[in-house]
C-alpha cells in the first residue's frame, strides 16, 4: 500500500518534479518547496532538502528542534493562513501541506501546486506510516537514497535500544507534567511515541483513549494504576522545573511506588507527532536512560 500511495502522489504532482531549476546554487535545492506543517518540515530537513520557507518557525524550533532549521529559511506565518502575497514573491515550485489543511488552501494553487500529504497515521502503525511518508517526499525531491539511509538509521537506533533493554521487565508511562502539578499529558494509542515503545519491545502502561495525535490529558492519579511501571517524562525546561517542584510537595506523588523507588526518568523533549528522525531520537533516549536504570 505504501508503494502505491507514493506512486500516486508522484503521478498526481508531476509539475513539481525537478521543475524550474534556478540557475544559481543558493543552498536551496532544485525543488524550491515550502512546507506548511511541522512533520513535513522535519522530513524535508531529514532528507537534507532545505525548504524556502515554512509556517510558524518559532513553533518548529521549540517543538521539533532537531534537525535544526537553517537561518535562511523564511517564516510564512500561521499554518492555516500563510501570507499569500509574501508566498507569491518567493515563487516556490510546490507547496506541501497536511491533508487536513488542504481544503482551505486551494487558492494557493494559483501560486504553485498545493500537494496534500497525509500526516496523521490513522489506523496504520505510526512508524510504517512515517516510513511511507518519508519515501513519498523523497520521491518528489529525488532523494530516495537519503530516505533509505534515514530509515535504516532509525531502525538501527530501535534495534540498539531493544537489545540494550531486552531484560527490562517493567511497563513505562510516557508523559509530560503540567505546571499545575495536578494534571499530566499521557501518550499512547497509535502515536509515534507509543509505536517506538512497542518496537523497542517495551510495554506502554497507559492503555486508555487518546486523541488523533496520540495524547490525552489526565489526572496525576492515573499514574497509580500500574504501581510497578517506570515514569518517563519530557523536559520542557522552566515549565517542567515548576511542575516537579510542585509535585514534590504533593502527597499522592510521594506515595507513588515509582517515585518512592526512584523510577522516574526525565528525557529531552521530542516532538510526539514527529517522523523518522524524532522516532530515532526517542529510541536513543530510551536506550540511554532506561538502560542506566536497568543496568545500574
Amino acid at each position: 500500500m505504501s508503494r502505491r500511495s507514493v506512486l500516486g502522489a508522484v503521478l498526481a504532482a508531476p509539475g513539481i518534479l525537478l521543475s524550474g531549476r534556478p540557475s544559481g546554487a543558493s543552498g536551496f535545492s532544485s525543488a524550491r518547496l515550502v512546507s506548511l506543517d511541522l512533520l513535513i518540515t522535519e522530513m524535508l530537513l531529514t532528507l537534507g532538502e532545505t525548504p524556502l520557507a515554512i509556517s510558524n518557525i518559532p513553533l518548529y524550533r521549540r517543538l521539533v528542534a532537531s534537525p535544526a532549521l537553517p537561518v535562511a529559511v523564511k517564516d510564512l506565518g500561521p499554518f492555516n493562513e500563510p501570507n499569500r502575497e509574501f508566498l507569491q514573491g518567493i515563487s516556490p515550485g510546490g507547496i506541501l501541506v497536511a491533508d487536513w489543511q488542504a481544503p482551505n488552501l486551494q487558492s494557493l494553487n494559483r501560486i504553485a501546486p498545493v500537494i496534500p500529504v497525509k500526516v496523521f497515521p490513522g489506523k496504520v502503525p505510526a512508524l510504517s506510516h512515517s516510513e511511507a511518508l518519508l519515501q513519498q517526499i523523497a520521491a518528489m525531491t529525488g532523494r530516495e537514497a537519503t530516505a533509505k539511509a534515514a530509515i535504516a538509521g532509525m531502525w538501527q537506533a530501535i534495534e540498539q535500544a531493544s537489545s540494550r533493554l531486552s531484560g527490562f521487565g517493567r511497563k513505562i508511562y510516557i508523559c509530560r507534567f503540567n505546571r499545575d502539578g495536578r494534571n499530566i499529558a499521557l501518550f499512547g494509542g497509535n502515536g509515534m511515541l507509543a509505536d517506538v515503545v512497542a518496537r523497542v519491545g517495551l510495554e506502554n502502561a497507559f492503555t486508555g483513549r487518546v486523541n488523533g495525535a496520540g495524547v490525552t490529558n489526565a489526572a496525576l492519579s492515573r499514574l497509580a494504576e500500574d504501581p510497578e511501571a517506570v515514569i518517563v517524562h519530557f523536559d520542557r525546561g522552566a515549565e517542567t522545573d515548576v511542575a516537579v517542584s510542585r509535585l514534590e510537595q504533593n502527597a499522592l506523588w510521594n506515595v507513588l511506588p515509582a517515585v518512592r523507588a526512584g523510577r522516574v526518568v526525565r528525557i529531552p523533549v521530542i516532538y510526539p507527532n514527529g517522523g523518522i528522525h524524532s522516532a530515532g531520537r526517542f529510541a536513543e533516549q530510551l536506550r540511554l536512560h532506561l538502560g542506566a536504570l536497568a543496568h545500574g
Binding site: P103, G208, S221, R222, A224, P227, N250, V255
Partner: protein, 660 residues
C-alpha cells in the same frame, strides 16, 4: 400552582437536596468501582497505602472543592446581579474572567518561569478589570448599564488579545488551555481550606451587610433618601463578588456560567429577598458543580474531561427548559437609561465624514501592502497580481461589517436592551456549535461544504430561536437569556475541544476569530447582495424602529402589530448574521459597539443611525482587515480580533470624553 410567598416552600427543597444526594451516590459508586474504599481509615492497612492517600488527598478534597467553588460562584453572581441590577451579570460579563485569562496567558508566554501558582496573574487581572471598569463607570455615576457595558467591552478586548496569543503561541499556552478548562482535580487539602475560609468570611460579611445590600433592589433615589450611598454599596457588592471569583479562578480555573445558572435558578424557584437569593443561589450552584464533576469522575477511565468545560452543557439546557416551560415568570426587566448630551454635529456632516473615512480605508486596504521591511504601494505592474488576493477580502469585510453593525442596531432597537447584539439570538453560536463536531469527526471538507454546514447550523438555531421566541411572544428578556445560553453552550463545547489539544483546531480558531483569509470572489458578491437587500428593506421598518424601543404598551397604543414587527426584524437580523457568520466567522463585537458609538456621536433617528451603522461597521472591518495584514507581517491577524480591539478602544475614548 400557588404563587410562592417569599421563595421558600417545602416542595422546592427537593430541588436543593437532590443534587447533593446524587453527588454522594456517585461518589460511593466511584469508590467501589475503583477499589478506593479500601483506603477508608477503618479499612486501610496503613495510612500511607496508595488507596488511602488517593482517597484522603485526592478524591475527598475534590468532592469538597466542587461544593465550595460552586457556592462561591453562586454568591458572586448574586452579588453582581444585585450590584449591577442586570439579570445577565456574572463574572464573565463584568470582564473579570477575561482579564484574568489574559493575564494568565501573558504570564505564561512572557514569564514562564514565574512560580507555578497562577494566583498572581489572576489577582492582577481581577484588580485591573475592576479598576478599569469601575473607573470608567464612575464618570456615569456607576450607572448599572454602563458598568456592565464597560465590563463587556473589556471582556471582548481581553478575549481578542488572548485569542491572538493562542493563535500565535499555541504551544506555549498548553497550561492556559488546561486551566481555562476548569479542572477540579486535587492532590491535597490546601485549596479546600482556602476556599472554605473565603466562603465563611464572605458569608459573614454578606449577613452583616444584608440591609444595605438589599437596598440595591430599590431605585437609587429611594435608597439615597434612606441615607445610603448607592454608589458605595454597589461598589462593595461588585468588589465582594470579584474577591470570590478571583479565589475560585486562581485555584481551579475558569468556571463560567455556574454562578449565573445558580442565580437564575434561585430566582426562578421564587426567591425574592436578597439574602434568600444569595443563599439559594450558592447552594444550587454548589449542587450543580458537584453533580457535574462527580459524573465526569465516573467517566474518567474513558476520558478525563474537566468540569468547567461541561458545566455550561448541563446548565444551559436546564435554564432553557425552565425559561420556556411556561411554569415560571420572569420579573419585568428594569429599563436602562442613557442620558444624552445635545448633539454637536449635524447628521449630514457626520455621515459625510463616515463616507470619506470608508473611501480612505478601502483605498488603503487595496493599494498599500507590506514587504519584509517596509510598506509598499501597489504599482501598475503588480496590482493585477495582488488584486485577486485583496479585492475579495476587502469587499467581504465591508459587507460583513455593515451587516453585523446593522444587525446590532436592529437588535438594540427591537429589545430596548443596550447589550443586545446579533450573538444574543444564538445564530452565530449555533453555526459554531454545528461546525465543531463536523471539523473533528468528519474527513476534511472543502470550503463550500464547510460553508454549507455553517449555514445549516445558523438556520437550525434561527428556527429554534424563533420558536422559543414565539412562545414567549418575542419577550426581549427571554430572547436574550436564550441566546446567552446557546452562546455558553458553544463556548463550553469549544473549550472542551481545545482541551483535547489537536493541531487541526487552529483552523477552527481562525474562523472563530473572524478571518477574511479564505473568502472568495463569490462570497464577497453574496455579502454585497444581502447587504443591498437589507438596505432596500430598512426604510419600510422605519416606523417600527422608532416606536418599539419606547416600550410594549406605547407601541400597542400607537397601533403597532408587535408580533409581526418583531418577527420581521428578527428574520432580517438572522439573515444578515447568518451570512456574515458563514463568510468570516462569528464577529459580534462590531454589532454591539458600532450602534453605541454612532448614537454617542449624535446620530439618533432610526434611519440616520442605520446609515451611520452601515458606514461605520464597514469602515471598521475594512480597516481591521488591513491592519491585521500589516501589523505582524508575514503573520495575518484575523480581522475580527483587530476590529474588536479597535472598537473597544474607540468606545473607551468616546465614553470618557462624553461624560467630562
Amino acid at each position: 400552582m400557588a404563587e410562592p410567598v417569599d421563595g421558600w416552600s417545602a416542595g422546592r427543597s427537593a430541588y436543593v437536596i437532590a443534587p447533593f444526594v446524587l453527588g454522594l451516590l456517585l461518589l460511593v459508586t466511584h469508590l467501589q468501582a475503583t477499589g478506593l474504599n479500601d483506603g477508608l481509615p477503618w479499612r486501610a492497612t496503613s495510612p500511607d497505602s496508595l488507596a488511602s492517600v488517593q482517597l484522603l488527598s485526592a478524591t475527598l478534597p475534590r468532592f469538597c472543592v466542587a461544593i465550595l467553588a460552586g457556592a462561591l460562584l453562586g454568591l458572586s453572581a448574586t452579588l453582581l446581579q444585585q450590584g449591577l441590577r442586570n439579570p445577565l451579570a456574572e463574572p464573565g460579563t463584568t470582564g473579570l474572567l477575561s482579564a484574568s485569562r489574559l493575564c494568565v496567558a501573558g504570564s505564561l508566554v512572557w514569564f514562564p518561569a514565574l512560580s507555578g501558582s497562577l494566583a498572581l496573574p489572576v489577582l492582577a487581572g481581577t484588580i485591573l478589570a475592576l479598576v478599569i471598569v469601575i473607573g470608567l463607570s464612575m464618570r456615569q455615576a456607576m450607572s448599572p448599564l454602563f458598568l456592565v457595558l464597560n465590563g463587556l467591552v473589556l471582556a471582548l478586548l481581553c478575549d481578542a488579545v488572548t485569542s491572538v496569543l493562542i493563535l500565535t503561541r499555541y504551544e506555549d499556552l498548553a497550561d492556559l488551555l488546561l486551566w481555562q478548562a476548569g479542572s477540579l482535580v486535587q492532590n491535597n487539602w490546601h485549596v479546600t481550606r482556602l476556599l472554605l475560609a473565603g466562603l465563611v468570611l464572605l458569608a459573614f460579611i454578606i449577613v452583616v451587610l444584608r440591609k444595605p445590600l438589599s437596598m440595591l433592589d430599590l431605585e437609587d433615589t429611594v435608597s439615597g433618601s434612606l441615607g445610603l450611598s448607592p454608589k458605595m454599596v454597589r461598589l462593595l457588592a461588585v468588589g465582594l463578588a470579584a474577591v470570590a471569583t478571583a479565589l475560585v479562578t486562581a485555584h481551579i480555573g475558569l468556571l463560567a456560567f455556574v454562578g449565573l445558572a445558580g442565580a437564575t435558578l434561585a430566582k426562578l424557584l421564587g426567591a425574592r429577598r436578597f439574602l434568600h437569593r444569595a443563599a439559594l443561589s450558592s447552594v444550587l450552584s454548589a449542587g450543580l458543580l458537584l453533580v457535574t464533576d462527580q459524573v465526569l469522575q465516573r467517566g474518567e477511565g474513558i476520558m478525563a474531561i474537566p468540569a468547567g468545560t461541561v458545566c455550561a452543557l448541563f446548565a444551559a439546557p436546564l435554564l432553557l427548559f425552565l425559561l420556556h416551560s411556561g411554569r415560571t415568570r420572569t420579573s419585568p426587566g428594569t429599563r436602562f437609561e442613557l442620558k444624552w448630551r445635545p448633539q454637536r454635529f449635524t447628521g449630514r456632516a457626520l455621515l459625510s465624514a463616515l463616507v470619506l473615512l470608508l473611501v480612505i480605508v478601502t483605498c488603503l486596504a487595496l493599494f498599500l501592502g507590506r514587504s519584509d521591511s517596509s510598506f509598499v504601494w501597489a504599482s501598475f505592474d503588480n496590482f493585477p497580481e495582488l488584486l485577486p488576493w485583496r479585492l475579495p477580502r476587502v469587499v467581504a469585510a465591508l459587507g460583513a461589517g455593515s451587516m453585523i453593525a446593522l444587525s446590532g442596531f436592529l437588535m438594540q432597537r427591537l429589545t430596548g436592551n443596550s447589550l443586545a447584539s446579533p450573538e444574543m439570538i444564538g445564530v452565530s453560536s449555533g453555526a459554531t456549535l454545528v461546525m465543531l463536531p463536523v471539523i473533528f469527526f468528519l474527513p476534511p471538507l472543502s470550503r463550500e461544504q464547510t460553508m454549507l454546514v455553517a449555514a445549516v447550523g445558523a438556520l437550525i438555531f434561527l428556527i429554534i430561536a424563533l420558536r422559543l421566541a414565539r412562545r414567549s411572544h418575542y419577550a426581549p428578556e427571554r430572547l436574550l437569556i436564550t441566546g446567552l445560553a446557546i452562546t455558553a453552550l458553544s463556548g463550553s463545547l469549544l473549550s472542551t475541544v481545545i482541551y483535547f489539544g489537536d493541531i487541526r483546531l487552529t483552523r477552527l480558531l481562525g474562523w472563530l476569530s473572524g478571518s477574511t483569509y479564505s473568502v472568495t470572489g463569490f462570497d464577497a458578491s453574496v455579502a454585497v447582495l444581502v447587504l443591498a437587500i437589507t438596505l432596500a428593506v430598512l426604510p419600510f421598518l422605519r416606523r417600527w424602529l422608532e416606536i418599539l424601543p419606547i416600550g410594549e404598551s406605547v407601541s400597542v397604543a400607537l397601533g403597532v402589530e408587535i408580533k409581526i414587527a418583531r418577527f420581521w426584524i428578527i428574520l432580517l437580523v438572522a439573515l444578515q448574521t447568518g451570512v456574515a457568520t458563514v463568510l468570516i466567522g462569528p464577529v459580534t463585537f462590531v454589532g454591539l459597539v458600532v450602534p453605541h458609538l454612532v448614537r454617542l456621536c449624535g446620530l439618533r433617528r432610526p434611519m440616520v443611525q442605520a446609515a451611520g451603522c452601515a458606514l461605520g461597521g464597514a469602515a471598521l472591518m475594512v480597516a481591521a482587515d488591513w491592519t491585521g495584514r500589516m501589523i505582524a507581517f508575514p503573520w495575518d491577524v484575523p480581522a475580527g480580533l483587530i476590529a474588536c480591539a479597535f472598537g473597544a478602544l474607540a468606545f473607551g475614548v468616546v465614553v470618557s470624553r462624553r461624560s467630562q
